[in-house]
Symmetry: C2
Subunit: 236 residues, 2 copies
DNA sequence: TTGATAAATTGTACATGTACAATTATAATA
DNA sequence: TATTATAATTGTACATGTACAATTTATCAA
């Protein structure tokens, strides 16, 4: 683990231990540097990481303060950076509906930048959050990049397997979101009615080297999923 | 404008001028440093900015490459960083439904960290994108921070006014999203039917010093709004 | 008191330099 | 030719140091 990531984790622990709340002030930058025994660069990067993660905010001339979202029960859609301790407080389960190795379907080719001959793992599964149906996920993995998958892996966390067992470096992703009415085919899986509202998120995942390896379409159950996003930039 | 922001803008211009496409390689870091005559720190920060913005991706040992989303017609929900050139390619118009100065409503107090006595500007407006109804926006600005607003300003970009005329420094925001069925009252404004699907986004905007100044609830028209998010971290 | 002004505090921008890890290209070997 | 080992390329991590801008605190005048 990198030093600045490690430092960031330690600062989080510090916040936890001292039970700091929204708006509370952390020690001054110089003090943090001495306290955690790192250089200014490292501390700055650690703080920047925590700022993007939404844990703190920094005010020049004033100090470093804790930023906490108070609402509970929301899913972090884009951790935008950092670790993956998003959903740890939620209990996530999966039920595999289908799992097969097929030639890349026509409509997926463009998204994955693949060829019609190329084989892909096609997986359909329902994901549960705290024993409620959260979403239906249909995903396609290029076998050229993910040479092997099996049903057992797919029942657990696929990304976990890709990173640890296969040593793949997962990089960035493009997500496309829209809201619409559920078609009957999907509604059944979510135990909802056709015409009910749904959030659909298409995502193209890339390795750090830019190669797309996974295209997935997730349809969320509108009653069991709500999302929080901590943003830092500007907007509308 | 800061040097690294300026540099980032110049690199974007470079990409534009050379008509670089997805996956095309930029000059090597050292070359970029010489070419744009900045230090390594500055260039690194500029590139980091562009990476977060989704314009490029960097691969150690390999190079710096262009990253472009090819789908058109999507709204950038969270620019996650950077400038606010999101919606420039869209034509955004507003129609003000109501505009008043009132004591802070009960249900808003907690979100804005205000008191019941405090006065807030309450604004309701419909926003159009390319002449289609995009969303209904209800927003509340604390008068303690935004001392003056009028109907004319509200018909244009409020944030533009806050930044330039009032000199406020807009910082981070917390967004809460969920999907649901439209109540009749809102459906009418969006020219939809009660029960139709809708994406609702609540946002609490803060100044850079951490003080919340704006709480808004936006209900999007499901047929006229779709969103793209370029993420960099990890996920589900 | 109030209000302006100066000084101290504190985070950010930027430069320079070293070491290193991931990738790619090259050379050596079977 | 294919495979492996080596070297060159290229971005990232990290340290140190200077200058500065935004904020807060202290000081002084009215």
């Amino acid at each position: 683990m990198l030093k600045y990531q490690q430092t960031a984790t330690e600062i989080e622990a510090y916040i936890e231990q001292h039970a700091l709340q929204q708006g509370d002030k952390l020690p001054v930058l110089d003090q943090l540097i001495r306290q955690f025994e790192v250089s200014k660069t490292t501390m700055t990067k650690a703080l920047e990481l925590l700022e993007r993660k939404g844990t703190i905010f920094q005010v020049r001339g004033s100090g470093i303060f804790v930023r906490k979202t108070n609402r509970k029960g929301y899913i972090e859609l884009f951790s935008t950076q950092g670790f993956k301790q998003n959903l740890v407080e939620h209990d996530i389960q999966s039920k595999v509906l289908s799992f097969e190795l097929i030639p890349c379907p026509e409509e997926i080719i463009e998204n994955l930048g693949s060829t019609p001959e190329e084989m892909v793992y096609a997986i359909k599964r329902i994901r549960y959050i705290n024993d409620n149906i959260m979403c239906l996920e249909e995903s396609y993995y290029r076998q050229a990049i993910v040479p092997y998958l099996n049903r057992e892996i797919v029942e657990q966390s696929i990304f976990e397997y890709l990173e640890t067992a296969l040593g793949l470096n997962i990089g960035f992703s493009d997500m496309y979101m829209h809201v619409g009415k559920l078609p009957d085919s999907i509604a059944q899986h979510l135990e909802l009615k056709a015409g009910d509202p749904a959030l659909t998120v298409e995502t193209i995942f890339h390795l750090t080297n830019g190669r797309p390896f996974d295209y997935s379409v997730i349809t969320y159950h509108y009653e069991h999923s709500q999302f929080v996003v901590q943003a830092n930039g500007l907007y509308l």
